[in-house]
């Protein structure tokens, strides 16, 4: 597609449930990032993929969070046993290269708003 696509755009779930959030990056972008953004805050880094492998998952808050990118394109962020504190907008971004390099412009999706009741 033309841009980064995230689904669902909104997800309301009950505490303790399992959720999956999907990100379809721009075709050809090898780098994929997941961020979490709460109201009034900047995006909080969760995990970064280069190709199929998670190059840096140091931002995942605990073992309830897991992300995969099996074919180096679409990625799924999985949250087990959701808690109210998980409520946030989950942003996905893709990049041709490393965000720290000069060509590393991030293209963001519209985000998935997760609400845990």
């Amino acid at each position: 597609g033309a841009g980064v696509s995230q689904t669902p755009s909104n997800k309301v779930t009950e505490k303790g449930k399992y959720v999956e959030l999907r990100c379809d990056p721009i075709s050809g972008h090898t780098a994929l990032y997941w961020y979490r953004q709460s109201l009034g805050q900047g995006p909080e880094f969760l995990i970064y993929f280069q190709g199929t492998g998670a190059a840096d998952d140091s931002g995942l808050p605990n073992d309830r969070f897991f992300a995969v990118r099996p074919e180096g394109s679409v990625s799924t962020l999985k949250i087990q046993r959701t808690e109210r504190g998980d409520s946030a907008v989950y942003l996905c971004a893709s990049s041709r290269g490393l965000a720290g390099a000069g060509t590393g412009e991030l293209f963001f999706g519209e985000g998935s708003r997760l609400t845990v009741l």
């Binding site: 961020y35 009034g40 900047g42 909080e44 880094f45 931002g59 942003l91 720290g100 991030l106 963001f108």
Partner: protein, 111 residues
Amino acid sequence: QQPVQSPQAVILREGEDAVINCSSSKALYSVHWYRQKHGEAPVFLMILLKGGEQKGHEKISASFNEKKQQSSLYLTASQLSYSGTYFCGTVNAGNNRKLIWGLGTSLAVNP
């Protein structure tokens, strides 16, 4: 490790100038600037690499002073479309992958 942005909020009249600052306690490899409008995804403005470069796009420019570990975003002759929250993201020297974001600066441009 999170960069500090200042001011937290700015209110301008159309045509006025503004400066948004971003500073870090760590040595920086690069600084990234994005603008986010309410309910929308962040949009890229520019990346500055160490070396003290400056960049500009129309009436928005930025500088990066690596010695001071600071970057500034300059908005000249502001337009209504400049309204939004501006985020700086920093990549520390030695870590070329993880962008750490500041809390953002809210900018409102009024007619």
